[in-house]
């Protein structure tokens, strides 16, 4: 007595083995066996006639639950390219531990003994299956080869067709080009050599090689057709290969005349430097403090708060007030002095001078 979990009913029963003989257990057992039997029957059918197919990752990796052993078993056997359907299941059922498991299962669950043998696969059957599989593999590979050969011929036919189209386009074009190029391009030689090439016939490689040659010859045309403007005698002055001073760094004999031009060029140098400064400024962050400061604006003396006293105590406006008063006094004094000087002093001085002179 004790807790006993029955995997078929998926229930724990405490009445020991009595529940096995009950109706519910047996009906569930029948259902289970029927389902499992279907799979086994299909597997048996393939013993005589194994199905070999190309590996299909969506369908060929199915797993099957073997009730007898309580294990999950791979249904098919595959090596990545080819699959033998139901191979895995058959292999599993041929094993001795599966046989033992089947017997224990039957004993534990009190199933119908007639059905038991169907779930086991004997060694003879396994041998037969293996030979059949070998044969099936052979025929499958032959079929695959046939398919591949078909595809290859199809591809070759397409390639030929394309080459022919290319040929038919290049030939009239090449004739036009050859007739247009000038003497130095050896057009006569080209025409004769290309006609020689056309004779040998329809080997594909030669054809593609010919196309490349024609294309290369068409482009080499300008290279041979460059105008020659005469040997540059630089034995007096030296040239770039001998490392002479470049003309733009040499003193110009016309520079005497261009002295005025030099002066005119002056500001442009300043502009250039300004432009450089501006570019540097552009790299600074645009929202920095004082970015929009107008450097050309005029400021008066009151821009800076210059009224601060050093030894004062008291409020700031007092110092400002005092400063302004003092400023106002000095301004008034200045104004007064100026006005006074104009009004009174000068005439006095003059009179005195005159008087001096007189006497």
């Amino acid at each position: 007595m004790g807790a006993f979990y029955c995997a078929i009913c998926r229930q724990t029963s405490f009445s020991g083995k009595a529940h096995i003989f009950g109706k519910s257990h047996q009906s569930k057992l029948k259902v289970v066996l029927v389902k499992f039997l279907e799979k086994v029957k299909e597997a048996r059918r393939t013993i005589k006639n194994p199905q070999v197919e190309r590996f299909d990752c969506t369908q060929h990796k199915r797993k099957c639950w073997c009730y007898c052993c309580g294990l999950e078993v791979e249904r098919d056997v595959t090596d990545g390219d080819i699959t033998v359907l139901f191979g895995g299941l058959l292999e599993h059922m041929a094993r001795p531990d599966h046989r033992k498991g089947t017997h224990t299962f039957w004993w534990e669950n009190k199933a119908d003994p007639k059905l038991r043998d169907k779930f086991i696969i004997t060694e003879n059957e396994m041998e037969r299956f293996k030979t059949e599989v070998a044969k099936a593999l052979g025929s499958f590979e032959d079929k695959e080869d046939g398919l591949i050969k078909q595809q290859a011929t199809h591809i070759r036919a397409q390639e030929q067709h394309r080459q022919e189209v290319l040929q038919s386009l290049i030939e009239p074009k090449a004739e036009l080009e050859l007739s247009n190029t000038e003497g130095p391009c050896n057009s006569v030689d080209e025409a004769s050599s290309s006609s020689h090439f056309r004779a040998p016939g329809s080997d594909e490689q030669a054809r593609s090689g010919r196309v490349d040659q024609m294309v290369a010859r068409q482009w080499a045309g300008p290279g041979q057709g460059l105008t020659f403007i005469g040997y540059q005698d630089s034995s007096n002055s030296g040239n770039v290969h001998t490392g002479a001073i470049p003309p733009w760094l040499q003193e110009d004999p016309n520079e005497g005349r261009s002295g005025t031009m030099e002066q005119a060029i002056g500001p442009s140098l300043q502009d250039f430097l300004k432009q450089k400064e501006q570019e540097k400024l552009k790299k600074l962050p645009p929202n920095r403090v004082g970015a929009n400061f107008d450097h050309s604006s005029q400021t008066d003396a009151n821009w800076l708060p210059s009224f601060g006293r050093v030894w004062n105590s008291g409020r700031r406006w007092q110092s400002r007030h005092q400063f302004r008063e003092e400023e106002g006094q000095t301004n008034r004094q200045k104004r007064k002095r100026d006005q006074g000087a104009e009004g009174t002093k000068k005439p006095n001085r003059l009179n005195s001078d005159y008087s001096m002179h007189c006497t």
């Binding site: 290369a216 482009w219 080499a220 300008p222 290279g223 041979q224 057709g225 460059l226 105008t227 020659f228 403007i229 005469g230 040997y231 540059q232 005698d233 630089s234 002055s237 040239n239 770039v240 290969h241 001998t242 002479a244 470049p246 003309p247 733009w248 110009d252 016309n254 261009s258």
Partner: protein, 149 residues
């Protein structure tokens, strides 16, 4: 086609251009406007000039107008294209015997664009000689005449 490209007609103009073009590749095409290969090259130059305006300035020079330069660069075949950056003559290894200039025309616009980009990047990194990205098959072939230099 060369109507759309700026022309330089005397040595002084060329000097000025070399000294003043800053932070951009300077392309000087030495050749004659009527020559057929020069016309092909000029077409490529004028079509790409706008797209390359931030990286390169392109000018046309007639070989007969500045013989000093023609002698200095030993220009025997036209068109020849010389590259400068910030007043410094840039050399490019095209797989041809002469690294100081590009002789002939480019096969496609893209070749020219790639070449300008490689020169610009090399110059920005401080290299005075760069390797050309153009397929050697597309570089025009010519014979370099050695006259006891």
């Amino acid at each position: 086609m060369s109507l759309f490209l700026a022309k330089l007609s005397c040595k002084r103009d060329i000097d000025e251009v070399i000294k003043t073009v800053a932070e951009k590749v300077l392309v000087l095409r030495f050749g004659r406007d009527e020559d057929s290969v020069c016309l092909q090259l000029d077409e490529i130059l004028s079509k790409t000039a706008h797209d390359l305006s931030n990286m390169a300035s392109i000018y046309i020079v007639d070989v007969d107008s500045a013989p000093v330069y023609t002698r200095y660069f030993d220009i025997s075949y036209i068109p020849s294209t010389v590259f400068f950056f910030n007043g410094q003559h840039m050399k490019v290894d095209y797989g041809s015997p002469d690294h100081t200039k590009f002789v002939g025309s480019f096969k496609t616009k893209q070749d020219f664009l790639d070449l300008i980009e490689v020169i610009y990047r090399g110059a920005m990194r401080g290299k005075m000689i760069v390797k050309s990205p153009i397929d050697p098959q597309n570089i025009p072939k010519y014979d370099l005449l050695y006259h006891g230099i």
